[in-house]
Amino acid sequence: MKIDLENLNVQKINTHFLNGDFTVADLVSEYLKNIKEKNDDINAYLEIFDDITDSINRAQSMIDDGTHTLFTGIPISIKDNMLLKGKIMSAGSKILENYKSTYDCFVVEKLKEAGAVIIGRTNMDEFAMGSSNETSAYGRTLNPLDYSRVPGGSSGGPCASVAMNGALLALGTDTGGSIRQPASFCGLVGLKPTYGSVSRNGIISLSNSFDQVGPIGKNVEDVQNLFELINKYDKSDSTSVPIELRVKDNNIGNRKKIGIPRDFLNGDGIDKEVLKNFEDACDKFKDQGYELIDISLPLMKYSLAVYYVIQPAEASSNLARYDGIKYGKREEMKSLIEVYKQTRGKFLGKEVRRRIMLGTYILSKGHTDQFYKKAYCLKQEIKKEIENAFLNVDAIITPSCPFPPFRFGEKSSDPVSMYLSDLFLVPANIAEIPALSIPSGVNSEGMPMGVQIMGPMWREDILFNLGKDFEK
């Protein structure tokens, strides 16, 4: 049968495999055809794995002998910051250009167990520091919907790989919007799960108190299915929360009430078409029987400032390990201290150097109280404020991004204007709550926009229900 990639989802593919309508090899070759045709331009993939045939054969035999799962034979891409044993994992950086993973990260382990076909590793902003994929050491990734525009970041590669039909689904990481922003820019669905729900074992740390792995796909159902596959406790990650401790408030979720943090949306720099699109999205929820309530969250607007204190501080500490000694690139020099300095100066990119130094400043004597401790306390207050909001509403919605996908170079000269693209997305990382970005239409130039749904801790189910109602 002819394979129509546009109209497939995980469930349908599974049925087709079981009916024998097409094989895993047939399906994967359709995706590989697209990659061959488009990847030279788009640069979504940094590497297509050379042993993909083994994965295909393994998946097919699971289907044939009845040991298959829902994800057997499903083509998935992973971000270049996830370890896959024996493969290069560079985190988009020159400093790890030659680094070969010594084990599988937790999420790759889950994909392999399920029999998924991992197509390859995808491009990203260097060490996930960026919102446009322009900081990758391996060239920029283009937005498959308009090659003159950025795909978003830092999971720009994963999102572009799905948007160009180079994989059905992708795994990305979200530290301060890095799944949801590129998903919105590429017209896709992206989930940042509750902090502690998906193991970070084998994921390259950017800011470990915010980093979280999550799924990216074309519809809510696929994203939900992939989330369920990776949403497991893992003893190897000390921040993975045991299932019995994931306390859910079951009173929340069936009141059909959605909160809109109206004051937060009235700031400067928010595109008019984005606001109009958001109002249309609100009407759509009303049509589905939801009650929309304006809520006041006066601390939410400080989230981005809090984030740009804590995140560089943690990054400066996490990236201290890239020193040219144990792995990665080394610049040979006479003295050890010069090895450190020259290696880091030469093989870390500009944005990474900037954030390490910013973090060093924030954590240095005299600045810790003024910046880090203050930001940490404010983080707790923001979290409390958002938790309290869920006493009255089941979910909170905002636009995903203040503006549609921008052109290359448009924001790269001013770091703060780049950081502002995550204005609405960062509060979920600060509050550790789950958040889903779903496509909400296109602007007058045909560029996609998204709406973000945030829910209480461990209540991804609420987001999926709202998302599916919105898709109707």
Binding site: L304, A305, M333, L336, R354, S364, K374
Partner: protein, 100 residues
Amino acid sequence: MVFCYNKKMQLDEVKVLAEKANISIEEKELQSLTSDFDKILTYVSHINDAGISELNNSDFVIKNVYRDDVVSNKNSEFSKDILDNMPDTQDGFLKVNKIL
């Protein structure tokens, strides 16, 4: 006390930061970093406008989670892969410059 970031970052301070972070950076980039830091620190100083009360050490609720201290891998199970990733080795050891 409300702290407000209103001082200008000095080039010399940025040089010290580069030293502390062990990153060699060219003079020209140090200059652009100086103005970048001003912009970013001015932005993040908004955290002082939130009116959050003075710091309280009990607000730091971080706790450690430990695993059992047992060997979970076979002897030398990962040694070759780890050694292969090292920039320089000798007789199964990591080789670095003389320190003394």
